[in-house]
Amino acid sequence: MKSGLWIFLAAFISVGGSWLGLVYGPVHQLGGAEQTTVLNSTDTYPLQRTGDATLGLQIYRANGCAACHTEQVRQTGVACSVMLTDAGKTPEAVTNLISSLTLTNLIKEDADKIADKIAAAGGKAEIHMLATGPDIARGWGMRQSVAEDYLYDLPVQLGSLRAGPDLANIGVRDPDANWQLTHLYAPSAVVKGSAMPPFRYLFELHKIGDMPARDALQFPKDFALPAGYEVVPTSEAKQLAAYLLSLRANAPLYSAPISP
């Protein structure tokens, strides 16, 4: 073993280098992530989930939702548009000016220049910035996901396969708890052609007693339950729905600035 030292060094460098890059680097970069404030506001983001929603994350995990759903919105670019808010005292001059300019789909530098031109002509303009990208075009979010969005997820349910839609903003897109629960009980009842398996074991099918249960599901008209029966969510289903409704990653942040 006359090259024992070299073999040790080579092993040390390759293991240590991987540790640096895969463990130390990410922890150093994002390990200290903490709550931040929403842009141009004093609101804190993100807020800790409610107890039900925190438990719901474990139901989400236990049922393998992350196998088919992601929680990450990707963004490929930014499009700025200039909006006239006040034509000022010489509206003709301002309208003539803007009719000769492109006002949408700009980079920030050009948008600033146009806003300055409008200000010089006596009008007032606002610059709106919208995130662009395939995920955003699908309506899955207003901006890309950033580290802060996952601050209270343990473990983070990023997901890598999209058999179903992305859920990073499902609480914004479908804020109705009854819709979420109905969809879990019978996906195809509310989404035509849904490939999602029903999670009926999270619900109980009861015979209606003296009066219907307070939290029985309200189904769409064309969905037929056996006559005289009702579907009541178990606490697991309610926790899962609370978790889904808590997925609202749409606040404008410093690291993901948007101004729609």
Partner: protein, 202 residues
Amino acid sequence: MIDEPNSETRENPGAEPGAAGSGLLMGMIILTLLLMFLGAVYFDRHSGWFNKQVYGPYASTSQLEEYQPKSGAAAAAAHGKQVYDTVCGICHGFDGLGKPGLAPALASSEWVITKGSDRLIRIPLSGLSGPMQVNGKDWSLAMAPMGAALSDTDLAAVLTYIRSSWGNQAGEVTAESVKSVRTTLGARPQPLTGGQLKSMPE
């Protein structure tokens, strides 16, 4: 054809095989260094050197800074509109024209376009009750202290928005003046009547 054993092994059968003298090793080292250099260039151009705030399409902190919505008056107006739409607009109308039977108009209201802002600040902080004249029309409704729960900056932003929208052209409301009015009003102010409000300084 079987490879001939190299000269070293033939001369000294006990020796370990070595890689010394092979030109390939130097090439590998150069290639690795080149790849590391290209990787570093990529990070420099695309991630603001591991900055935790910088995510893709933004390439650096300076670019991210450039894309922040403008601070100052424009941002305050945008924020003020957001607060107005969630807190005030439901009754006073998103166009500031009020709703009959609910709330009077804010556009060109004599209570809004005052010279000073202190009297206006009192309205959302303490609420209103009883008869009140707004632009010659009699109103007799109660308004809850809708602004008491808002922060000084939020209330200042929304009042600035009200005073500078729908044709109103009164001056800015600062967070400092909201703070000072809030202090003079105390913890649980009683709802004001129109007469009381009129007697207060603008």
